[in-house]
């Protein structure tokens, strides 16, 4: 899967989790950039991303993310 396709897919998932259809993600997007991104929505987000891309993250992977770019990289390596 290409990076751009992953970003588009992520935007769709973010849109559903945060009820925001026009959400625009960049690799350096962080938690405070997205309204409503709190502890609970983070759990929902991780589960929704896993479902959407049909992958499973390890705790190590989840803990290493600092921004959306890191999340994208993990998906990239898992879908190759």
């Amino acid at each position: 899967m290409e990076e751009q396709a992953i970003m588009t897919g992520l935007e769709k998932v973010f849109g559903e989790v945060f009820h925001d259809s026009v959400i625009q993600l960049k690799p350096d997007t962080i938690v405070s950039d997205v309204e409503g991104w709190d502890s609970f929505s983070h759990i929902r987000l991780v589960l929704a991303v896993e479902r959407s891309f049909k992958i499973r993250f390890t705790t190590q992977e989840i803990q290493s993310w600092a921004n959306v770019g890191d999340l994208c990289k993990t998906i990239l390596t898992k879908t190759r």
């Binding site: 609970f40 759990i43 991780v46 589960l47 705790t59 803990q63």
Partner: protein
């Protein structure tokens, strides 16, 4: 040497002057020496615990970064966590654990706990342990490199403005600043902002917290004598006492660091104006709540997620909610224990955990902000009863009395009446400042006014209030004991 002592008033400017006179490459040495001296003014022997903890964490991080074998890395990380938490347990919880075992196994033979088990916890151990743990975990997950300079790392652990009660810093935020040369240049704005924060901190501590404590201690020191109305007044005053005591300490800590150009995490953001408990925990003791979120709640949540998503028979409750509920409750239960080995703290933490779960389940959104602020404040107030009480029996006595025996409001006699009056006056001033910042835009500001005379008069007035209304007995800050 506490922040509200004469020694600190002399120590801080001396360190700041020496800091700017010392060449940039030796500043870490000056600050480290000053930090160790500051800490040793309390009990010199406990510096050993800090040095040992520093050496262990410093070496572990280097060992982790030096290996590419994941299993080895994990083993080092877990062993270091166990050592750090072990030190915390030995000093802070051993007496409580021994007492608990004694109650369980020899309840009919009340014997004394061995004095050897009732150790005095080294002041600040709860804070610098969390700060060190975050560093080890960050290095393990690759969020930062291991610090190679032992002196800079030792300073990160023992930096004097933060060593006693935080704000709990992160290695990704404070450590790089200790190396930044540009940041450490003398800028008048840092000096002005630092002094402002320190003055505001003293106002909170000396005028509000220490005045309020006189009434609160009088009521809690003699529970059977008082009625429900007095308890309600004491709890409301206590809510401001604990807030201003810790926010005052934090402001002095942040201001002290700012004088030398360092930017330290904010700890409080007008917490009693929160519309929900969820919001409260983003505005109260922020450096601890964000620490708990990142290093406890998240790992717990992701572990529970693995378990709950497999449970397909859970039709009514979503795996997301179940994950959140378990992780939130455990996190806040531990948050309670972190404050001390007492059942009252565990109940306090558990109540906050339960509040968060209920709030998430019913998704309280009435749209009326003031009503939500009021409800949230009352909910927080209820938990302070447990937090302040010496034991669970006292807490329930207070709750029962509030509902069954209102009684008369206790008003101290003669000169003692001055304390609560000054306290209320201080609280009203604080509320006015906070209401303005919370609900009105900052177009007009006394403290950030462009006219320097307005700024000077404002701070002159604040200093006058501190000197006139403050309590000058160098009483301890409440959060030192946690």
């Amino acid at each position: 040497m506490f922040f509200n002592s004469i020694q600190y008033i002399l120590f801080l400017p001396a360190v700041v002057i020496l800091f700017y006179l010392t060449p940039l490459r030796f500043r870490w040495l000056l600050l480290l020496a000053a930090s160790y001296y500051f800490y040793m003014c309390w009990k010199p022997e406990f510096i050993v615990v800090i040095v040992v903890s520093t050496l262990i964490n410093y070496s572990s991080a280097l060992l982790m970064s030096g290996t590419s074998v994941q299993k080895r890395k994990k083993l080092i990380m877990i062993s270091t966590l166990v050592i750090n938490l072990g030190l915390l347990v030995i000093f802070k919880y051993l007496g409580f654990i021994a007492e608990m075992f004694q109650t369980i196994f020899q309840s009919d033979h009340p014997s004394r706990i061995s004095p050897a088990l009732l150790l005095i916890a080294p002041i600040g151990i709860s804070y610098y342990t969390l700060q060190s743990l975050s560093y080890i975990i960050d290095v393990y997950y690759g969020r930062r490199d291991a610090e190679k300079h032992p002196g800079i790392f030792a300073l990160y652990v023992a930096f004097f403005p933060l060593i006693l009660s935080g704000p709990i810093e992160r290695s990704t935020h404070l450590l790089p600043q200790l190396r930044e040369k540009e940041r450490q240049k003398l800028h008048s704005v840092n000096i002005e902002e630092g002094i402002k924060l320190i003055i505001f901190g003293y106002f909170l501590k000396l005028v509000i917290a220490d005045r309020t404590s006189i009434y609160v201690d009088a009521v809690f020191g003699n529970l059977p004598r008082h009625g429900g109305i007095t308890f309600m007044a004491a709890i409301v005053l206590y809510s401001f006492q604990i807030y201003t005591d810790f926010a005052g300490y934090s402001a002095i800590a942040i201001g002290s660091a700012r004088l030398m150009g360092f930017d330290v995490y904010q700890n409080f953001n007008r917490p009693y104006f929160s519309s929900s408990i969820r919001e409260f925990w983003t505005r109260w003791h922020m450096s601890l709540s964000s620490w708990l979120r990142d290093y406890l709640f998240n790992p717990l949540a992701f572990s529970f997620m693995r378990i709950f998503r497999k449970e397909r028979y859970l039709k009514i409750i979503s795996p997301e909610f179940l994950t959140y509920a378990f992780a939130a409750f455990i996190t806040f239960f531990i948050c309670g224990i972190w404050h001390g080995a007492r059942l009252t703290f565990m109940i306090w933490g558990s109540l906050h955990g339960i509040y968060l779960i209920i709030e998430r389940a019913i998704d309280r959104k009435t749209g009326k902000r003031l009503l939500n602020i009021f409800i949230t404040y009352i909910m927080v107030l209820f938990t302070w009863i447990f937090f302040r009480s010496d034991n669970v029996h006292d807490a329930f006595l207070i709750i029962r009395t509030i509902f069954t025996q209102p009684g008369k409001l206790y008003i101290p006699f003669d000169s003692d009446v001055v304390a609560p009056v000054y306290a209320v006056l201080g609280i009203l001033i604080l509320l006015l400042i906070e209401i303005k910042r919370e609900f009105f835009d900052l177009k007009f500001s006394f403290t950030k006014n462009r006219n320097e005379y307005v700024r000077m008069i404002t701070y002159g007035l604040l200093i006058f209030l501190i000197l006139y209304l403050g309590v000058f007995d160098a009483s301890q800050f409440m959060y030192f004991k946690f």
